[in-house]
C-alpha cells in the first residue's frame, strides 16, 4: 500500500497547491516542498529498513509489491513493485523534486498554484513509471507525465534564443515523446496478443510476459518499438531534436526535472523492459546501440562546445553523458550496468546543479547568452566556486560521483567491446574541453559589465551544498548504491548473457 501512497501523494499535493493559491503566494510553495520531502522521507525510510542482501535469496526479486484488478477484460492490473533500482530512482525523484520547488521560489511569480500542480504531477507520473510493473500501467504513467511538462515549458518557459518560442519547443517535446510512446503501445499490444495466441491468457503483467515466445520475424520489430520510445527520451542521437530546445526554453525547475529525472525514466525503461523482455534481440542489436551511444557521446560533446546559450550547452552535455549510459546498458556486463546506475544518479546531481546555477545567474543578469557574460568570478561571491565544483563533476573528476560511474562503465564494457571503450574515452577529453569552455566564458575572461551582484541567500546556498555533498558522497563511497542495485544488475546481466548465448546458437546453426 505504501507504493500506492508514493504515487498518490504528489498528485494530491498538486491539487492542494492549486487550491492553496487563495491562501497567499507562499502557501503553494510550502505545500509542494512538504509533499516532495515527504516522498523523499518515505523512500529513504524504505531504503533504511529494507534488506537488500536478502533479496538475492528470496523467490521474489521485489522488495515491496502491491496489486489489484483494474480492467479485467484485458487482464490489466494495477501492479506496483519496488526493487533496489526503482527505490533509488524514487528517492532521487523526491530529492530533485524538492530542489525543483526550491529553485523556482523566486523565479516563478505568476500562477504559482497552477505551476506547482504541474510540477508535482510530473513527479507523480515519474514515480509511477518507476514503480509500475503492468505494461499498460507503465505506458499510462509514461504518457501522463508529458502533459504537465508541456504546460510547464509552454506557460512558464523563457522565450529565448532566436526564433524559437517556448510553445514550439513544448509542442515538439510532446509530439516526439508521444509518437514514440504510441509505437511502444503497439509493441506492448503485439506482445500481449502473441502471448494470448500462445497460451490463451490475456495479460499485461511484466512477469507473465517475460518469457513469451515471440516469432522470430516479429521480435526485432517489437524490441525496436520499445527501444525507440526509450531512445527518444534518453535521448539517443537521431531522436534528440526536442531536447536542446526544451531545455533552453523550460523554466529552471523544468530543466532540473527533465535532465535529472525524466531522462532517467528512459534508461530505467531499457533496463527494466527492453532488455529483459527481448534479451536475444537486444543482444543482436547491441552493436548498433553501442554505435548510437558513441555517436551521442561525440556529437553531444562537439555541439556543446559551440553553444552560446548556457542551458543549451548543459543540454548537449546530457546527450553526451547519456551516450555512456546507453553503451553500458547494451554491454550487458554487470559492472557496466552498475556503473550506468551510478552515472544516472551522478548526472542527475551534476546537471541539476548546473541548471540551478544557470537559473540563479539568469535571475541576476537576466541572460543565458554566454557572449554577454564573462568575468563573473569577481562580481558574484560563492556561486562561481560552486559552478567550478559541478563543472568538475560533469567532466568526471576523480572523487566525484560521475568519475565512479564513467570508470565502471568503461571497465565493464572493455572485455566485450574494447574498440567502443577506446572511442568513448575520447568523450572524457571532450568533456573536459566543454566544461572548461563553460567556466572560462562565464566566470573568467574579460569582464563584460561592471558592478557587484548579490551572492546566494541561504536557500541557494543550501541547495548547492546539499547537491555538492551528495556528489562527493557517492563519489567517495558508492558502495551503498551498488549494494542496493546489485540484484537488479545481476539479473539483467544474466538475462542478457542468456540472450547472447542463444543468439550465438542460432547464428551458428545458420552457418
Amino acid at each position: 500500500m505504501i507504493l500506492v501512497w508514493l504515487i498518490v501523494i504528489p498528485f494530491l499535493g498538486g491539487l492542494l497547491c492549486w487550491q492553496a493559491d487563495r491562501w497567499g503566494e507562499q502557501a503553494p510553495r510550502w505545500i509542494a516542498l512538504g509533499t516532495m520531502l515527504f516522498v523523499l522521507v518515505i523512500s529513504l525510510w524504505l531504503w533504511g529498513t529494507g534488506d537488500f542482501a536478502l533479496q538475492a535469496e528470496a523467490d521474489t526479486p521485489w522488495l515491496l509489491e502491491w496489486r489489484a484488478d483494474w480492467i479485467p477484460r484485458f487482464g490489466i492490473e494495477i501492479h506496483l513493485a519496488m526493487d533496489g533500482l526503482s527505490l533509488i530512482l524514487v528517492a532521487l525523484t523526491g530529492f530533485l523534486g524538492a530542489l525543483a520547488v526550491l529553485c523556482s521560489w523566486h523565479e516563478i511569480g505568476n500562477r504559482i498554484g497552477f505551476f506547482h500542480l504541474n510540477l508535482l504531477w510530473i513527479l507523480g507520473g515519474v514515480v509511477g513509471v518507476f514503480l509500475a510493473l503492468d505494461l499498460f500501467l507503465f505506458f499510462l504513467f509514461w504518457e501522463m507525465m508529458l502533459v504537465p511538462m508541456y504546460f510547464l515549458i509552454a506557460l512558464w518557459g523563457h522565450s529565448g534564443s532566436a526564433g524559437q518560442t517556448r510553445i514550439r519547443a513544448a509542442t515538439r517535446f510532446f509530439i516526439y515523446t508521444q509518437a514514440s510512446g504510441l509505437l511502444m503501445l503497439v509493441a506492448i499490444l503485439a506482445l500481449v496478443f502473441i502471448h494470448f495466441g500462445n497460451t490463451g491468457e490475456l495479460s499485461f503483467s511484466y512477469e507473465v510476459l517475460l518469457n513469451t515466445e515471440v516469432p522470430e520475424a516479429i521480435a526485432p520489430w517489437l524490441m525496436l518499438g520499445f527501444f525507440v520510445a526509450f531512445a527518444v527520451k534518453l535521448p539517443v542521437v537521431p531522436f534528440h531534436g526536442w531536447l536542446p530546445d526544451a531545455h533552453a526554453q523550460a523554466p529552471t525547475a523544468g530543466s532540473v526535472d527533465l535532465a535529472g529525472i525524466l531522462l532517467k525514466t528512459a534508461a530505467y525503461g531499457m533496463l527494466r523492459f527492453a532488455l529483459p523482455l527481448f534479451p536475444e534481440e537486444s543482444a543482436a542489436f547491441a552493436p548498433v546501440a553501442m554505435v548510437l551511444g558513441l555517436v551521442g557521446i561525440v556529437y553531444g560533446a562537439v555541439l556543446a562546445c559551440g553553444q552560446q546559450d548556457i542551458k543549451r550547452l548543459i543540454a548537449y552535455t546530457s546527450i553526451s553523458h547519456m551516450g555512456f549510459v546507453l553503451i553500458a546498458i547494451y554491454s550487458g556486463s554487470e559492472l557496466a550496468i552498475q556503473g550506468a546506475v551510478v552515472l544516472m544518479v551522478a548526472h542527475a546531481f551534476s546537471s541539476a546543479g548546473l541548471f540551478i546555477l544557470s537559473g540563479q545567474l539568469y535571475e541576476r543578469i537576466h541572460t543565458r547568452d554566454m557572449r554577454i557574460m564573462g568575468g563573473l568570478w569577481g562580481r558574484i561571491p560563492t556561486l562561481p566556486g560552486f559552478t567550478l565544483c559541478f563543472v568538475a563533476a560533469s567532466l568526471g573528476m576523480p572523487a566525484t560521483a560521475n568519475f565512479v560511474g564513467e570508470f565502471m562503465i568503461l571497465f565493464g564494457t572493455f572485455p566485450t567491446a574494447p574498440v567502443v571503450v577506446v572511442i568513448a574515452s575520447t568523450g572524457l577529453v571532450m568533456a573536459a574541453i566543454y566544461s572548461l569552455i563553460l567556466m572560462q566564458r562565464v566566470h573568467f575572461g574579460p569582464v563584460y559589465r561592471q558592478g557587484a551582484l548579490a551572492g546566494p541567500d541561504w536557500r541557494e546556498y543550501g541547495m548547492m551544498l546539499a547537491l555538492l555533498a551528495l556528489v562527493l558522497l557517492v563519489g567517495l563511497y558508492p558502495q551503498p548504491l551498488l549494494d542496493t542495485t546489485a540484484v537488479m544488475s545481476g539479473t539483467v546481466a544474466e538475462l542478457f548473457a542468456g540472450g547472447v548465448e542463444s543468439l550465438a546458437e542460432t547464428t551458428g546453426e545458420v552457418r
Binding site: I71, L140, M144, Y150, A154, A170, T171, A179, L185, F193
Partner: protein
C-alpha cells in the same frame, strides 16, 4: 404483423415519435420556449428510462439487438444533452425557437430506427428521417448567411450521396432479389460478382459521405462552421453515430464486404481519413472547423473496426463511440455555452478562447479535459478508445492501419495542444465574448461539468463501461 412483444421492443422509438407529435401540437396551441424544451427533454428521458426494460427482438424490417440498444442509449443521451444546451442557446434567438426541438425529435427518431434497421428499405427511410430535419436544423438561423449556406450545402451533397446509396441498393437487389440483410447474405453463396461489388462500394460511398470519410468530406468544415452550435453537436454525435452503426451492421451481415478488393478499398479509405482529417485540421483557427476535421479523423480510426469486422470490432465500436460521444459533447458544449445566448454568430474563433482559464477556470478545465481526450492522452476516455482501436488492429495484424492510427495521433497532437495552450496564455486586454456568470448553476453548465468528470472516470476506471459494451455486443 406487430405483436405486443414487438411494441415493447419499439417502445423507445414510439415514445420519441409521440413526443414529437405532442411537441408539434403544443407549438400549434401556444408557443412557449421553455415548455417545448421541457417536453422534448421529458420525452427523451422517458425513452431512456424504458430502454433497460426493452427486450431484444425483431419487429418487421428491424433487428433490435444488443448493438441497437447500445446505440439507442448513446443517441438518446446525446439528443438530451443537445436539448439542454439548445435551450440556453436559443433563448437569444429572435424568431420561432420551438420548432428546433421538433426537428431534433424527428431526427432522433430517425436515428433510433436507423441503428436497428434490418432491411434496406428501413435503412433508407430512417436515414432520410434523420437527414431531412438536419437540413432544417443547420439552416435554422437562416438570417445568418453561413447557416443558410451550411443547410443548403448539406442538403445538396446529401442528395447526391443518397443517389449513390439508392443505386447501390438497386444493384444489390437486382443481383440477389432481396432487400432484407439476412436474405442478401443468404443469396450469396459463391464469390460476389462485379455487380454485387459495385453495389456494395456505392453503398459505402453513400454512407461514407454522411460519416465524412475522405474523399467525401468536403462539406464537413463549412457545415460544421455554419450550422448553429446545437445543430452541429447533433450532426457530430447522433447522426454520425447512427450511420456508423448501420454501416457496421451491413459489413457484419453481408459477406460481400469481406471481399479482398473491398477490404483494400476500406483500408485505403480509413488511412486517407485518419491522415487527411488530421492534416487538414493542423492550421485551422476556427474551433468549429477544427473540431469538424478532428471528427473526420476520429471516424477514420473507427473505420479500422469496419475493416476488421469481427466480434472484437463490435466491442471496439461501442467503446470508441462512447468515448467519442462524451468527448465531443463536452468540447462542442463549451463552444455552445460561450456562444449562448445566440447573438448572430457563434464564438468559434480560437483567439476568443485566449486566457479562458484565468477567467473561467472550470470551463477551461472542461475544455482541456475534452481536448486531452480527443488527443487520446491516458487517464481520459479518449485513451481507452484509442487503446481499443490499436488493440483491434494489432490483434488482427493490420499493421498499415495501426501505423496510420499512430501517425494520425502524432499529427493530431499538434492542433489539440495548440488549442489547449491557448486557453492558458495570458489574457489580452480586449473585451471578449464570455459565458454568462451563472453558467455553473445552469443545467447546461452542470451537464458539461458532469461530462468532464465522466471523461476522467471512464479514463481511470473503464471496467464498468467495458463490461456494459461487451455484454451488449455479444447479445
Amino acid at each position: 404483423m406487430l405483436t405486443a412483444a414487438d411494441l415493447l421492443t419499439l417502445l423507445p422509438l414510439i415514445i420519441v415519435g409521440a413526443t414529437a407529435v405532442v411537441a408539434m401540437l403544443v407549438i400549434a396551441w401556444r408557443r412557449h420556449h421553455a415548455g417545448t424544451a421541457l417536453i422534448a427533454g421529458t420525452g427523451l428521458v422517458l425513452a431512456l428510462l424504458v430502454l433497460p426494460v426493452t427486450s431484444t427482438g425483431s419487429p418487421p424490417l428491424m433487428q433490435v439487438d444488443g448493438l441497437a440498444l447500445m446505440a439507442a442509449t448513446l443517441i438518446l443521451v446525446s439528443a438530451l444533452v443537445t436539448v439542454i444546451l439548445s435551450h440556453h442557446y436559443l433563448s437569444g434567438y429572435i424568431g420561432p425557437r420551438e420548432e428546433f426541438y421538433l426537428l431534433l425529435l424527428c431526427a432522433t427518431a430517425g436515428a433510433l430506427g436507423l441503428v436497428a434497421s434490418d432491411h434496406l428499405a428501413m435503412l433508407f427511410i430512417s436515414l432520410e428521417l434523420l437527414s431531412m430535419p438536419l437540413y432544417g436544423m443547420l439552416a435554422y438561423s437562416f438570417r445568418a448567411e453561413r447557416s443558410l449556406e451550411a443547410g443548403i450545402k448539406y442538403l445538396l451533397l446529401s442528395a447526391a450521396a443518397t443517389a449513390f446509396l439508392l443505386f447501390g441498393m438497386a444493384l444489390i437487389y437486382a443481383r440477389t432479389g432481396h432487400l432484407d440483410l439476412a436474405g442478401i447474405a443468404g443469396a450469396l453463396a459463391g464469390a460476389p460478382d462485379a455487380w454485387m461489388l459495385a453495389g456494395a462500394a456505392l453503398m459505402i460511398v453513400g454512407l461514407g459521405f454522411k460519416l465524412s470519410v475522405v474523399p467525401f468530406h468536403l462539406w464537413t468544415p463549412d457545415v460544421y462552421q455554419g450550422g448553429p452550435a446545437p445543430a452541429t453537436i447533433f450532426l457530430a454525435t447522433v447522426s454520425k453515430l447512427a450511420v456508423f452503426v448501420v454501416l457496421l451492421r451491413l459489413v457484419l451481415a453481408a459477406p460481400v464486404f469481406h471481399n479482398e478488393w473491398l477490404q483494400a478499398v476500406i483500408t485505403v479509405l480509413a488511412l486517407l481519413t485518419m491522415l487527411g482529417g488530421n492534416l487538414l485540421a493542423l492550421f485551422q483557427s476556427n474551433l468549429k472547423r477544427l473540431l469538424g476535421y478532428s471528427s473526420v479523423a476520429h471516424f477514420g480510426y473507427l473505420l479500422v473496426a469496419i475493416a476488421v469486422g469481427n466480434t472484437l470490432a463490435i466491442e471496439t465500436t461501442g467503446v470508441y463511440l462512447v468515448t467519442y460521444l462524451v468527448t465531443t459533447l463536452a468540447a462542442f458544449g463549451v463552444v455552445t455555452l460561450i456562444s449562448s445566448p445566440f447573438g448572430g454568430e457563434d464564438a468559434d474563433g480560437l483567439p476568443l478562447y485566449r486566457g479562458l482559464f484565468w477567467r473561467r477556470p472550470y470551463l477551461a478545465a472542461v475544455m482541456t479535459v475534452s481536448f486531452l481526450s480527443l488527443a487520446g492522452i491516458p487517464l481520459t476516455a479518449g485513451f481507452i478508445g484509442k487503446f481499443y482501436v490499436i488493440a483491434l488492429g494489432v490483434s488482427d495484424s493490420r499493421w498499415w492501419l495501426v501505423g496510420g492510427v499512430v501517425a494520425g495521433s502524432a499529427i493530431g497532437l499538434y492542433y489539440y495542444l495548440r488549442v489547449m495552450v491557448t486557453l492558458y496564455l495570458p489574457e489580452p486586454g480586449m473585451r471578449r465574448r464570455d459565458v454568462t456568470n451563472d453558467w455553473g448553476s445552469r443545467l447546461g453548465g452542470v451537464t458539461l461539468l458532469a461530462l468532464a468528470v465522466f471523461i476522467l472516470v471512464l479514463g481511470i476506471y473503464p471496467a464498468p463501461m467495458i463490461d456494459w459494451v461487451q455484454g451488449l455486443s455479444i447479445g
